[in-house]
């Protein structure tokens, strides 16, 4: 069966200047978008234009370029709102990255609402960013963590979900695993949380760049994601939250912008979303994120998902045909249950040694624990090699990965 994609990836590639470069004298094969995506000209140009023409601090400036910069920043907030279908821009808070978004929630909502013995339900496939902030609260407050286990093929095992969620105050899980690619049934989880009166937090770092996101349909209370994984720059992330919850939360970082009034004896907070945005924001990065969302929206996020589904099917099929039992690709076997993230074991080679040989062939993959050490332990490995795709990858990239793996196999042949 021929695999088809709604995207013309070759044309899309021309928008990404980095993909035109060579490494070690060979055209670069970039397969690490789960770590960070490449940036299209539209994003680079938007940030450059800001610095070259309207660079000024936002809010409170009455001169023309300050007003323009403010308008651009707030326009980007509206683009984010529309992209995730939030009901109001008041619910869209700019942070440094998804990690900061999650820390904000733990420090603000968590410290205001959780006391000793309260239960937070996480899963075994969480990124450290959705584990460590909770551990910090365990140390400070004596809250308890529970963990949703995984099935053998790397999906959440929801058999005992009712028992696990019983008595929990918080459910915080990823929508898509950065190691296994698993796409979780978020709605099932958020429904279960709501039924017991728990709030639900979704780590959308991997899902938001690759699948359509409708926060009103998710049934969640909060969503965290990063800009740099969705074609935007580093240094900008988003926290979406339901307005009534955000309104009750105490501020996270204090300073300028987040206040309405400051007196010698105290302060009052600014309105949402600025209440959580102390200090000068990452203006160029926010504008860049807005440009990234424009770019993705013009292509259509559903088309991106369809393209990556095609690549997923091609990757699973091609690698297992070429290498048989010599390769183990972790995670779900069915493309509809997973995104384009492929952690694998190849022969008995260590991931570092694999990626070193792959680098020689200009193939960029990640090797390590992917900030998911509890998951690595569960999988019984110290590290994996991980290839991940985005809208600019092609089946030729996967063939190049296969060729480079073959070379690694012969180099280390014992």
């Amino acid at each position: 069966m021929a695999l088809t994609s709604p995207l013309d990836a070759e044309r899309i590639r021309a928008d990404f200047p980095l993909l035109g470069r060579e490494v070690h004298g060979k055209p670069i094969i970039y397969l690490d978008s789960a770590a960070t995506s490449q940036k299209p000209n539209a994003v680079l140009d938007a940030m450059d234009l800001y610095y070259r023409t309207i660079n000024s601090n936002v809010h409170r400036g009455v001169y023309q370029i300050a007003e323009q910069a403010t308008n651009e920043l707030e326009a980007a907030r509206e683009k984010v709102r529309a992209f995730i279908n939030a009901s109001s821009v008041a619910e869209v808070i700019f942070t440094k990255n998804a990690t900061e978004s999650l820390n904000l929630l733990v420090q603000s909502w968590g410290r205001a609402n959780l006391v000793e013995g309260d239960v937070v339900l996480l899963s075994h496939m969480e990124h450290h960013a959705n584990i460590v902030p909770w551990h910090m609260l365990v140390a400070e407050r004596g809250i308890q963590l529970r963990w949703i286990p995984l099935t053998a093929d790397g999906q959440l095992d929801l058999t005992d979900l009712d028992a696990l969620v019983e008595g929990a105050k918080v459910l915080s899980v990823t929508a898509m695993s950065n190691v296994l690619g698993t796409i979780n049934s978020v709605r099932t989880l958020t429904d279960a949380a709501r039924a017991v009166g728990a709030i639900s937090i979704i780590d959308g770092c991997q899902s938001v760049p690759h699948t359509s996101t409708d926060v009103q349909a998710l049934g969640a209370d909060f969503l965290a994601f990063s800009g740099h994984k969705l074609l935007g720059p580093t240094g900008i992330g988003v926290l979406w939250g339901r307005e009534e919850l955000l309104a009750e939360m105490p501020p996270f970082i204090g300073g300028g912008e987040m206040i309405r009034d400051v007196r010698l004896d105290g302060f009052t907070c600014n309105d949402l979303p600025w209440k959580f945005e102390a200090g000068t924001p990452a203006i160029a990065e926010i504008i860049g994120l807005g440009a990234a969302i424009d770019y993705l929206s013009a292509i259509g996020i559903d088309n991106v998902r369809a393209h990556e589904r095609m690549l997923t099917e091609y990757t699973l099929r091609t690698l297992s045909m070429r290498f048989g039992d010599d390769i183990v690709i972790h995670g779900p076997t069915e493309p509809e249950h997973r995104g384009g993230v492929f952690s694998f074991a190849f022969k008995d080679l260590h991931p570092h040694d694999i990626s070193q040989v792959l680098d020689e062939h200009a193939v960029c993959v990640r090797a390590g624990h992917h900030c998911a050490k509890p998951l690595m332990k569960l999988m019984g490995v110290g590290a994996t090699a991980r290839a991940s795709v985005y809208l600019y990858n092609t089946t030729a990239d996967i063939d190049a990965l296969g060729d480079a793996l073959e070379a690694a196999g012969s180099f280390f042949a014992f």
């Binding site: 070690h24 004298g25 260590h350 991931p351 570092h352 040694d353 070193q356 040989v357 020689e360 090797a367 390590g368 624990h369 050490k373 690595m376 110290g382 590290a383 180099f411 280390f412 014992f414």
Partner: protein, 156 residues
């Protein structure tokens, strides 16, 4: 451009395939110390026994990791066994010197620090190519840092 052969010398691959002193020692009496490379998840366990003259009477290596970290640990175990703590200190400084000389002179001329001990590195010389791959230096030095900690704790 440094090639793979600069990194993966035959002797390194030999130690990777046939690691020396692999295993465990009963602890106590042996000192057991774990070393981690938080960047990649590699893990080295050093089991160390010192005799009354502060000589390494026995050493075993456990853990898992890439060919560089495992072969470095294997070569290290062979190089330090039977030597005194003072001798091992000199060897460690010489080895780290070999690893870091290049680190500090990237883009500049190579300088030989004068206070480096005059020690024969033997097989360990094979790891010299690692300095051309800076992200792998931590793989090569993991075992040595773990050994230093084990000696500290055993001598304490």
């Amino acid at each position: 451009m440094p090639g793979l052969e600069d990194l993966y010398r035959e002797i390194i691959l030999d130690h990777y395939r046939n690691p020396r002193n692999r295993g465990e020692l009963e602890s106590p009496p042996a000192q057991r110390v774990e070393g981690f490379n938080p960047l990649c998840g590699d893990e080295i366990v050093v089991y160390l026994e010192l005799d009354d003259d502060e000589r390494i009477s026995d050493i075993r290596i456990g853990g898992q990791g890439c060919s560089i970290s495992q072969s470095s640990a294997s070569m290290m175990s062979a190089a330090v066994k039977g030597h005194t703590v003072a001798e091992v200190g000199d060897l460690t400084r010489a080895f780290k010197g070999m690893m870091s000389i290049h680190e500090s002179s990237l883009g500049g001329e190579s300088t030989e620090p004068e206070d480096l001990p005059d020690v024969k590195l033997g097989d360990l010389e094979a790891l010299r190519g690692v300095v051309k791959f800076p992200v792998r230096i931590k793989c090569a030095t993991l075992a040595w840092n773990t050994l230093a900690q084990a000696i500290d704790e055993a001598s304490a």
